[in-house]
Symmetry: C2
Subunit: 422 residues, 2 copies
């Protein structure tokens, strides 16, 4: 083994050197590394590997470990899955903007039914001229749309209302949001089909799970234009945890309005005041007022790497995360690496889609001193994600839903990253 | 049970009536169906169902059956998977435009290795000032892009060069194309990093599988702008069948150029004339000329429903399918339901993405007489998918690759759909 080859092996095997190398490539020009003989460098590349058989399904690598975390509610991790009420997406391990179908977050109020699609029906009635009972294959024979949208549980972020558990990962703090491609029938098509009365400006949507979650939805132009009854998810039929055989998609609005296992749409002229809107999804504000029908999900973002429970090294690091808004497209994401004192524009990894998660990134040289990193997003309507202080001043800490304050991660002198309030 | 309720049950249970009902809704206005009491219609909706537990992964419904078909080559279905050379996507059962990750088509020359990402290396060398050996986590720390693109095996469609087996489904005829979101490092970033010589205008990309597939790639501006080294697929790490831990993404070009298990990029100033380009991926034309480096995938489309081995009924049917082009966006898809005599514009289900599959659809009333249905796509550069006769006149029937003639499905008096040449 020549000394030159030793250099090459060292570079290939030492993480720190390797990480810095590509970011300071210009500085090594003309060093012994350049001009190294082909035979030497090829020695660093592992031999080719024989393969296993072709198959009906491409499984994950034995080296990849991805799973959601079933939880029983805020602060209630590590539960028996049969007691869980939600299951969070591992945002810390994902790349790009889409969420793998089997890792899309779950939230349900009576577990996950697997309904027989040939028996399932959708009743459409109330203030309509022609009430109808539709089969799933009726819906599949109608005109369809396919749209990439995020869905977010209105409880996403609920871990950090009052205190910040330093052991939380971004999967714990923000894992109740996901982005998939959804396919189904526009609500407007169904409304024309049943000939809704002009006087009807509210719709009740009811699920077919044991809890029968039902919500009143105001028929604004935006919702009439964008809502649809979906049967497809990332190219295939919905999965049971996500509403198979059909669910409502309400782009940009509370996850619980995207009614899963949809069995009924009723049209009326006032909200039904179901228990889900008089009790569960009512928001207690700082001044003691209880707010109902706070339906839209707000402008949000979070740095997914580096994030809670990760460790970084001094030098070049890539800061990356996800941003989303129920108001429309993400227009800008800024990152602060000095606890919010100064901000730099992050790069958006691809064109931002309307009401979908958008990946952002920025290169950053960490000097090894303790600091805090934080992101804030701005959407195309000009809504800016609030800092925690102004958000809490306005909403207080007794609320449970619509937490969308900027997320701060602290980094200590050892490079350990932890969840903090600000 | 009242007579009125009998009507409702009849409507809900009879497929033909049900299918026609929503398309002729206007004609039933004022019938006994409208104004039916709520209690009656609710009786048609199944009771709510209790649910199973939350989980780490959302599996498919017990009622959904989706799998690829491993094949040994043109006409060689139903093989032992260990002898298969590819595995085809079930286009007939998918919706939307994305392909489920585990159903993305497979094509490999030495099976599917599952490489250890901590051991894997990417060597970049040749006509460069700073040859490098990169680890996978080096790549993950660099700036990245996320793009939704189709990948298509250059052999896609090879079943129909000479004859049309009437038992083939669209999975058999066109299942070697899929669309995923891919995430990775732009080729330009890597080229700047190693400081490529200006005189280098070709790149060799080599895979780490047992076959060591390697291809010479011309460094056109388009390829320099769009190619990237991917580590992510639909939000997660690549799966082994699709190149884990890293693969090349060459948007719009032959699938085999999207080198899986990528272990080497070498820069030079002429093609390497590997056996994959002197033997395998050379195209024998009608005039006896053998064409090399026919790299771009052409403008293509196929109706996925109704398609081979399906059955339809007279009356309203929805015609839907997928269109794609290696030249850019799909601009238009037309459908003929009279064997190509007349054409109507289909509706694109969502905004067409550059070099990605686009879903199209059209409502159609079948009169019950035997006929043939066919689609043809046009891309933003004005390329029109050719009919079979003009395509075969030009290319002949001795070729094996780049079949992209219009696909015709015949429908007999019983509604049975079969694969035909035109």
């Amino acid at each position: 083994m020549t000394p030159r080859h030793n250099d090459a092996a060292e570079i290939a095997n030492k993480r720190t050197v390797s990480r810095r190398r590509f970011l300071t490539a210009a500085s090594v020009a003309g060093s012994g590394f350049a001009g190294r003989a082909l035979a030497d460098t090829l020695a660093d590349v592992p031999a080719r590997a024989p393969g296993g058989p072709m198959s009906g399904h491409s499984g994950r690598s034995q080296y990849v470990h991805l799973a959601r975390i079933p939880e029983a509610g805020p602060g209630l991790r590590h539960v028996d899955p049969s007691n869980a009420i939600n299951s969070k997406t591992p945002l810390n391990k994902l790349v790009g903007s889409l969420t793998p179908t089997d890792l899309h977050y779950e939230r349900s109020h009576a577990g996950v039914p697997d309904l027989d699609p040939t028996e399932h029906r959708l009743l459409i009635h109330g203030m309509v001229r022609r009430p109808m009972v539709l089969r799933v294959d009726d819906l599949q024979a109608m005109q369809s749309v396919s749209r990439i949208h995020f869905i977010e549980c209105t409880g996403n972020g609920w871990e950090n209302w009052k205190t910040a558990d330093p052991t939380l990962t971004v999967q714990n703090t923000h894992g109740l949001v996901s982005t998939n491609e959804w396919t189904g029938v526009p609500l407007r098509f169904l409304i024309d089909l049943v000939s809704k009365d002009r006087g009807s400006n509210w719709m009740l949507a009811e699920g077919g799970d044991g809890a029968g979650v039902d919500r009143s939805i105001p028929l604004t132009d935006e919702i009439l234009d964008e809502a649809f009854v979906a049967y497809g998810q990332n190219g295939e039929p919905l999965r049971p945890a996500h509403g198979f055989p059909i669910r409502l998609i309400m782009p940009g609005f509370e996850g619980n309005l995207n009614i899963k296992w949809l069995r009924r749409l009723k049209f009326g002229n006032q909200p039904w005041m179901t228990r889900w809107e008089t009790d569960r999804y009512t928001q207690l504000l700082a001044d003691g007022e209880a707010r109902q029908f706070q339906l839209r999900m707000e402008t949000n973002s979070v740095i997914t790497s580096p994030s809670g429970m990760m460790e970084i090294r001094p030098g070049e690091n890539r800061v990356t995360g996800l941003a989303w808004s129920g108001h429309g497209k993400i227009a800008k994401v800024e990152i602060s690496t000095d606890a919010g004192k100064t901000w730099k524009d992050a790069q958006l990894t691809q064109g931002a889609l309307r009401k979908a998660q958008t990946r952002f990134q920025m290169d950053w040289i960490w000097d090894g001193n303790p600091t805090k990193i934080v992101s804030r997003s701005t959407d195309e309507k000009g809504n800016v994600q609030p800092d925690r202080k102004s958000f809490i001043d306005r909403v207080g800490t007794n609320a449970l839903f619509h937490y969308h304050a900027q997320q701060t991660w602290a980094i200590d002198a050892m490079g350990r990253v932890t969840n903090v309030l600000a």
